[in-house]
Amino acid sequence: MNYLEFERPLAEIEGKAEELRALARSNSEMDITKEVEALDRKAEALLKDLYKTLTPWRKCQVARHPDRPHCKDYIEALFTEFTPLAGDRNFADDHAVMGGLARFNDRPVMVIGHEKGHDTKTRIERNFGMARPEGYRKAIRLMDMAHRFGLPVITLIDTPGAYPGKGAEERGQAEAIARSTMKCLEIGVPLVSVIIGEGGSGGAVAFATGNRLAMLEHSVYSVISPEGCASILWKDSDKMREAAEALRLTAQDLLRLGVADQVIEEPLGGAQRDRKATIAAVGRAIESMLSGLVGKKPDALVRDRRQKFLTMGAKGIAA
């Protein structure tokens, strides 16, 4: 279990409870049930208290938690017959973006998402979920295929942003993102998206410009990272708490602004504390979003998407 900085008091209590349990296992005569129970109760109360009102900056930390289920976990649990499709047919296959054919509740679909990796080796392989132009061009290819074969597209978003690298720029990062966003808007099949962790700027928009957008309770979606915003507007990257607050990047704020259509509740203490329950909840949300769109005519789906974005911004955050 990885603990976040603000969870440190919780780590202490849970650590103590764990120590006692280990002690009891090695010494069967000791009766410490009461003490352990007391500690567990204390830990739960603290957890509840910590997660009752998470500040936006804490939400960012939870959204980036390394133990949260990632794209790969969702695909493995929610989809069957997943058949990864690779490459942009131009330059390379981007491992930061997963995609392929799969069945979702028996229905064939195209699933695309950012994968961050779960340990040092896979994180490097996945480039921490930061796609290069090839990733967006692969997604464009897959969305186009889905469009031609009438398959709904499901995208799972979890990226700090597009990769800021020399090669990525030379190969047209901006153009790739712009075309991917355009492809999202063009396809005559349902496109539903879930932000499962971080929705980092343009890298997220390129996949999340769909008919419906759901966000996990502690996920974030923002034009810039709080650290980046703080260093530009506050000229001090340590002001990320203030920046996170000002940016209104939480799922709850995005729902109020009409950018997100629904918020998926997470287990107490965040998705990382009960990955299975989180994945199941995301599955239900995808099904409910899809069922409202499947069967609609291609034109109607394109119109629906356009309308959604053209009218966006009519609602602000109430004072």
Partner: protein
């Protein structure tokens, strides 16, 4: 200490300082350091006469130079929600907006107009870098949509001049949502079969590059303009190495296949007229410099001189 140092010298000094040329009459070229007289600079569209460096130009000045006789009609942009997030950093967002409005005399960072270039009617939109770094917020999104809608309604091409540091952070996610919104505007033009020409000017970066500024039928840039998604500083921090000379500049992008052309500001208007007229199936533009009457004495180099004399009527 006498009356000379106490009285005469200050009087002389004040007389001379009053005669000093106001600073705003001269601008120093950021590239070569040449002092440029403001009137000459304006005539040269803010391009340094000695080194060719392209300095920023306001949307309005650009339009005045672009449209025939400097005549254009401004197209109204629907008002966006002011300060949707109640954003506050070290300053309140509305205060920043007011300061930018006061400094620039413009309402927002993008101007949309209808008019003729070389007798060719077009819709044009230009981003103003001097207004909060030209940043793309809801107004810029609305402006591009209004420009596209107008172009579709009037069946005219759209020429867009981009200049922006990126998305307007003070509008948070709603600024990011201008990426899909402006992309829809580009789609409208595409569906109506209308040309969409983007002129990228210094600098065009971030979410602006990753949406409408990279989706043109023809992509032209001004010389040496910085055009990128992630800025050079961010990249250097990430990869921890020095970037090559000219990286992310217009010429570099041209070499890497990201642009069609790099064209100096002074030649841009003619080039736009040529391209627009071909894409819309119109005859070549008649420049007005009709050759004089078949007078055999007319010397060769004079042929392109301004046709001020009414000899053409003969």
């Amino acid at each position: 200490m006498n009356w000379i140092s106490n009285y005469v010298r200050p009087t002389i000094n004040s007389l001379f300082s009053r005669r000093e040329v106001p600073e705003n009459l001269w601008t120093k070229c950021g590239e070569c350091g040449t002092m440029l007289f403001h009137r000459e600079m304006a005539e040269n569209l803010n391009v340094c006469g000695s080194c060719g460096h392209h300095m920023a130009i306001t949307a309005r000045a650009r339009f005045k130079a672009l449209f025939d006789g400097g005549v254009f009609v401004e197209i109204k942009v629907p008002d966006a929600l002011a300060d949707p997030l109640h954003f506050r950093d070290q300053k309140k967002y509305p205060d920043r907006l007011k300061a930018a409005q006061k400094a620039s005399g413009e309402k927002e960072a993008m101007l949309v107009a209808e008019g003729e270039i070389g007798r060719t009617p077009i819709i044009a939109a230009a981003q103003d870098f001097s207004f909060m770094a030209g940043s793309m917020g809801m107004h810029v999104g609305n402006a591009i949509i209004a420009a596209a809608e107008r172009a579709v309604k009037r069946k005219l091409p759209l020429v867009l001049f981009s200049a922006a540091g990126g998305a307007r952070m003070q509008e948070g996610i709603l600024s990011l949502m201008q990426m899909p919104r402006t992309t829809i505007a580009v789609q409208m033009l595409k569906e109506a079969g209308l040309p969409y020409i983007v002129v990228l000017t210094h600098p065009t970066t971030g979410g602006v590059t990753a949406s409408y500024a990279m989706l043109g039928d023809v992509q032209i840039a001004e010389p040496n303009a910085l055009i990128c998604f992630a800025g050079p500083r961010v990249i250097e921090q990430t990869i921890r190495e020095k970037l090559p000379e000219g990286f992310q500049r217009a010429e570099y992008l041209l070499d890497h296949g990201m642009l069609d052309r790099v064209t100096p500001r002074g030649k841009m208007r003619d080039e736009l007229i040529t391209i627009v007229r071909m894409l819309t199936g119109q005859s070549p533009v008649i420049t007005g410099d009709l050759p004089g009457p078949a007078a055999p004495v007319a010397p060769e180099p004079e042929a392109s001189a301004p046709a001020a004399t009414p000899t053409g009527k003969a």
